[in-house]
């Protein structure tokens, strides 16, 4: 009995924490399939990075999750509320920054935020408190009374971001939140996303791969409407071609032959081989790892009294995995 209760509690906690559930989502525009059978979940405390080439279906997916586009098929649940059956209630727990950060140019920053707060059901003291809070978080205090059309791109972007967090939502969906920002602002926004990600469920899309490493706890790569990779940034990096191989430059005689004899070596690739030195890449066997391989090479070098100039384990780069699994239209 006790066991059942504890299972029940675990089950309940699991579902309570599942803030975004997307199930077999599909979107067809005319004859073009933009999003094809996409399913994923985002838990509370998770920052999900959405990656993919242009036109992969990132924005379309986000527009469906936020209730702007009607899906052709599939289901979306936000915090336990079905978006298709009860859109107004589901939208309450979402904060959304659309692509290109749209704003009303004839309004002031304060006026715009006030309008959004009212649509979110905030009035009076709660409204001004919420506005003050987001003005501070997004560093907009100095321009609060300025008209939106006189703002620079960075400020406009942050004004729209401020709008998305006015009501302190449990779910945040940000479509390219760092687009058009300078490096300092990018850093700020990434830090902000990471900080907010501790107690929210966040999805953000980006082209910039280093951003995923900096802010995400999980990443999904989408290509032509389908998920082609899903995992933590580290897991994805390990899947990159050439990840976990060891690059070496060693002075000594017969290095290549000796390296090939090692137990965990799959293959040795030389980039330049001379009589007295070796430069190249060593790939570990499937059941082994780069760390183990590095250690073995080190031990061997000590034993043989080689002069090691370089020994470096490749961590794999998101760039490489991205390029290897998404087919670009240019190449096709």
């Amino acid at each position: 009995m006790h066991k059942f209760v504890s299972y029940g509690v675990t089950f309940f906690k699991h579902y309570k924490n599942l803030m975004i559930q997307v199930d077999k989502l599909r979107k067809v525009f005319g004859s073009k399939v933009a999003v094809d059978n996409l399913s994923f979940n985002v838990k509370k405390g998770e920052v999900l990075g959405f990656l993919g080439p242009n036109g992969a279906g990132k924005s379309t997916t986000m527009r469906m999750v936020t209730g702007y586009f009607q899906p052709t098929a599939g289901n979306i649940t936000i915090g336990g509320v079905n978006m298709l059956e009860n859109p107004e209630l589901a939208k309450r727990s979402i904060g959304y920054l659309p692509e290109n950060a749209p704003l009303y140019p004839d309004m002031s920053v304060n006026g715009f935020l006030s309008f959004c707060a009212e649509l979110r059901g905030l009035h009076g003291a709660a409204k001004s408190k919420a506005i003050d809070r987001v003005l501070e978080i997004c560093f907009l205090g100095s321009v609060r009374n300025q008209s939106v059309d006189t703002l620079s791109k960075g400020y406009r972007h942050r004004t729209c971001l401020a709008q998305s967090i006015l009501h302190d939502p449990e779910v945040l969906i940000l479509d390219e939140p760092t687009d058009g920002l300078d490096p300092n602002q990018k850093h700020e926004v990434r830090a902000l996303i990471k900080r907010m990600g501790e107690n929210k469920a966040i999805i953000f899309s980006t082209h910039i791969l280093e951003e995923v490493e900096a802010a995400c706890s999980r990443a999904i790569i989408i290509d032509r409407g389908k998920i082609v990779a899903d995992g933590t940034p580290d897991e994805l990096k390990r899947r990159a071609p050439g990840a976990d191989s060891v690059r070496v430059v060693i002075r000594g005689a017969g290095v290549r032959a000796e390296l090939e004899k090692l137990s965990c070596v799959e293959k040795v690739e030389a980039t330049s081989a001379e009589e007295s030195s070796f430069a190249g890449r060593v790939l570990p066997k499937k059941n082994s790892s780069g760390v183990e391989l590095t250690r073995e090479i080190g031990e061997l070098a000590v034993a043989k009294q080689w002069k090691v100039e370089t020994i470096h384990r490749e961590e794999g780069r998101l760039d490489d995995i991205f390029r290897s699994i998404t087919r670009s239209d240019v190449a096709a």
Partner: protein
Amino acid sequence: MKNAFAVFKREFFSYFNSPVAYVILVIFLLVTQGFTFFFGNFLEAGDASLTQAFFMWHPWIYMVLAPAVGMKLWSEEHRLGTLELLMTMPISPWQSILGKFLAASAVWAIALFLTFPIVITVLYLGNPDPGPILSAYVASFMYAISCLAVTCAISAFTRSQVICFIISVALCLLLTLFGMQQVIEAIVKTLPSSMEGVVRFISYLCFLTHFSEMSKGLLVLRDLLYFVSVITICLMITSLALNSRRS
């Protein structure tokens, strides 16, 4: 209702934050007064009802000026991308449609209110019956916001304000022309007599027919209901157009 009011407030102030509302108000007042005195023979006619001299010109002015007020309602939202923001807020599309439409209607309410000097003039010069004047004001306002509703529906289909303006003016022109007695008689004469019923029915569906009735002082529920249903249909088309953009 609070949500619709928030949308109303934003839209209404956006008219007065830009020159749009001022330009249209000034032109409307100049043109209505100018037509009344120069073409309506207001002073020579010696008629204190205002129907012929003043209200008769309104449909032709609204035909151009109402689309100018309404053309930005949705096409601007499409162009700026703010439609996406509005439609992902926890409000129903109807609340935003209603809020925006009422804001544009409020501009016309102000415009009509500002024509009060002409009423004072007739009250000073003659001894008019207030009933017809009031009913003509209602008719004029309904005409303005019906043209606005047509524009609102068109603007939901396009992101270009120019296209919206031109199509709306053309539609309002048709809805006005086909209500004119002279135009209808000319059409009836050229078409075979079996078509007469159809032509008269179409003419009955036009704005001007109902406006003429009301502006003569016959505030009939039937005509009022006609304008209300035109507006309702146009706003429903707006809603359908916005939904089709999202699906």
